[in-house]
């Protein structure tokens, strides 16, 4: 508090002040470079507010004619996200197990696990979807597999970290009882990572619900297909209906996941 009121005269030493100005100048320079060289037609920029207003005026009022189709696509989106999350959760377990330093069988499996996690995590769901649409053709299968591939890295990383942070003492105690490796995992490790397991599964489900709304834009199923169709046919009033439906879905997903979190944890 005091520091805040005294700021005008004694907050920084001259050297600090200089450094701050330096960072500031550097930032300004970078922004100027980006602004000067980016490939933008400025006439469009000045025109943008008009265009946006125009587009918006064409969106109201929302047109509910195809509401039944929209709702069934919404349900398909929910199913897609749920099934994909469930399968990803199952597949993430062995990955987490070999990616955790204290459970992985050997150095080779450790690196295999880490490789799976990094490649899964650093490729976005949409890029995965592009690939799987090319492989499986347009449709929900590509969407489900894309979401799975992205989720395995997310879930596997967080679960693997949870495994690495467990208390090793019960593990040792059960080893001393003569329990087999699998039973030690079952009794000493699984109970310790259970809360994290549920927390990350719910979190990822919530994220996947959002992500699955856009899969359709690259042909991978769900509500995005209808959105793309409405945009392509300039049916802006239907577009706004779909957008409202998506907001409702996302909000509902947040409510459900916070309810589950409270219930289970």
């Amino acid at each position: 508090m005091e520091q805040v009121q005294l700021q005008d005269w004694a907050r920084y030493t001259p050297a600090q002040r200089f450094q701050r100005y330096g960072y500031f100048a550097l930032t300004a320079l970078v922004v100027a470079w980006a602004l000067g060289s980016v490939n933008i037609i400025w006439a469009w920029v000045w025109d943008a507010p008009t265009q946006m207003g125009d587009l918006f005026s064409r969106m109201v009022p929302p047109d509910p004619t195809h509401l039944d189709q929209i709702l069934s696509a919404l349900w398909e989106t929910v199913n897609l996200a749920t099934i994909a999350t469930a399968m990803a959760v199952v597949l993430a377990l062995p990955v987490a197990y070999i990616a955790a330093q204290n459970t992985t069988p050997n150095a080779l499996t450790l690196w295999l696990g880490r490789f799976i996690l990094v490649s899964s995590r650093s490729v976005n769901t949409i890029i995965w979807a592009l690939l799987f649409v090319a492989i499986f053709g347009p449709g929900v299968v590509a969407g489900i597999v894309a979401i799975m591939f992205r989720s395995i890295g997310f879930l596997g990383k967080l679960l693997g970290e949870a495994i690495e942070e467990i208390d090793p003492k019960p593990v040792e105690a059960l080893k001393a009882c003569g329990a087999s490796h699998f039973k030690v995992v079952l009794y000493a490790i699984v109970p310790q990572v259970m809360p994290t397991f549920f927390a990350v599964a719910i979190l990822r489900w919530d994220i996947n619900l959002r992500e699955s709304t856009v899969l359709g834009l690259v042909g991978a199923g769900g509500i995005g297909v209808i959105l793309q169709g409405a945009i392509d046919t300039f049916n802006w009033q239907e577009v706004s209906t779909v957008l409202l439906a998506i907001i409702a879905l996302v909000v509902a997903g947040e409510v459900v996941s916070s309810y589950l979190r409270r219930k289970i944890l």
Binding site: M1, V4, Q5, Q7, V30, V31, A34, L35, S37, V38, N39, I40, I41, W44, V45, D47, A48, Q51, M52, D54, L55, E76, N79, L80, T82, I83, V118, S119, S122, V123, N124, I126, I127, L130, L131, A134, I135, F136, G137, G139, V140, V141, R210, E211, T213, V214, L217, V218, G221, G224, L227, Q228, I231, V239, L243, I246, I247, V250, V251
Partner: protein, 264 residues
């Protein structure tokens, strides 16, 4: 009572057996019906294996022959990310103040909250496709998209931060009869600046990731290059682009993590 006890069952998570088995049954029914009703084209899926073989065959080795295109695309993504971060972080400040209960009057508070909720609800790809339609293909649509994306994240966290600031200096200033704006500048800004810079660096990282994606629907940057390569079945070039994207993301994650650790 004690001598003959030889049964023990773990108490189930849901004590009521009707509810418990009902839940199991509901889950089973859900899984079966979902798999049965999802529009899955099994024939097309079976072809997938041979197609996958062809795609991966075509993708290796990755081709960096058109590296000029690749570099242009990447630089454009970088510029989009930088400009969107600056725009988003600056715009987040007024929106966050509007959405902070301890600063804004109720009606403005609701408006600010609504802006944040809408910005957060839509995946950037949806926002991008709308902007592409409104302002045309290219990086401008990308920048607008990621500004919205940044607002959804930065303004929300900033508003939470403002709501928990120390009210002392604010009240002191108000009591001294300072006008609203100078109250903000002298009593509130100093308390949130640090946080705002950290958020900005984090957001630059997020925006770089997202800029690779929004390009796929036409909003400029390396994503557009990738979508084009995919569309033309140039899988070796697509792999090269993906590798660059992954590399850039890993580097950016490491750098932003290191910077945030230093200023924290």
């Amino acid at each position: 009572m004690s001598t003959a006890r030889d049964t023990w069952r773990k108490q189930p998570f849901i004590a009521n057996p009707v509810l418990r088995y009902g839940l199991y049954a509901a889950i089973a029914v859900y899984i079966v019906t979902t798999f049965a009703t999802l529009p899955i084209d099994w024939d097309r899926m079976v072809q997938g294996l041979s197609r996958a073989g062809r795609i991966f065959g075509g993708a290796f080795p990755p081709s960096f022959q058109r590296s000029e295109l690749l570099i242009d695309g990447f630089m454009e993504s970088l510029k989009i990310a930088i400009l969107a971060t600056v725009g988003g972080v600056l715009l987040s400040i007024p929106i966050a103040f509007m959405a902070a209960r301890n600063i804004a009057p109720l009606s403005i508070y609701y408006f600010g909250r609504a802006v944040i909720i809408i910005a957060r609800s839509f995946h950037p790809v949806i926002v991008a496709i709308i902007f592409v339609k409104a302002v045309g293909f290219g990086p401008f649509a990308g920048i607008l998209t990621l500004i919205v994306y940044s607002i959804g994240f930065v303004a929300k966290l900033l508003a939470e931060k403002i709501e928990e600031i120390d009210p002392g200096p604010v009240e002191a200033m108000r009591a001294a009869g300072a006008p609203f704006l100078s109250t903000l500048v002298y009593a509130v800004f100093p308390q949130i600046m640090q946080r705002q810079i950290g958020l900005g660096i984090y957001q630059l990282d997020s925006n770089l990731r997202a800029s690779a994606v929004v390009g796929i629907v036409g909003a400029g940057g390396i994503g557009a290059t990738l979508a084009n390569a995919f569309g033309r079945y140039d899988y070796d070039f697509a792999l090269a682009i993906t590798m660059v994207i992954v590399g850039a993301i890993l580097i950016s994650e490491a750098v932003s993590g290191a910077i945030r650790k230093r200023i924290a």
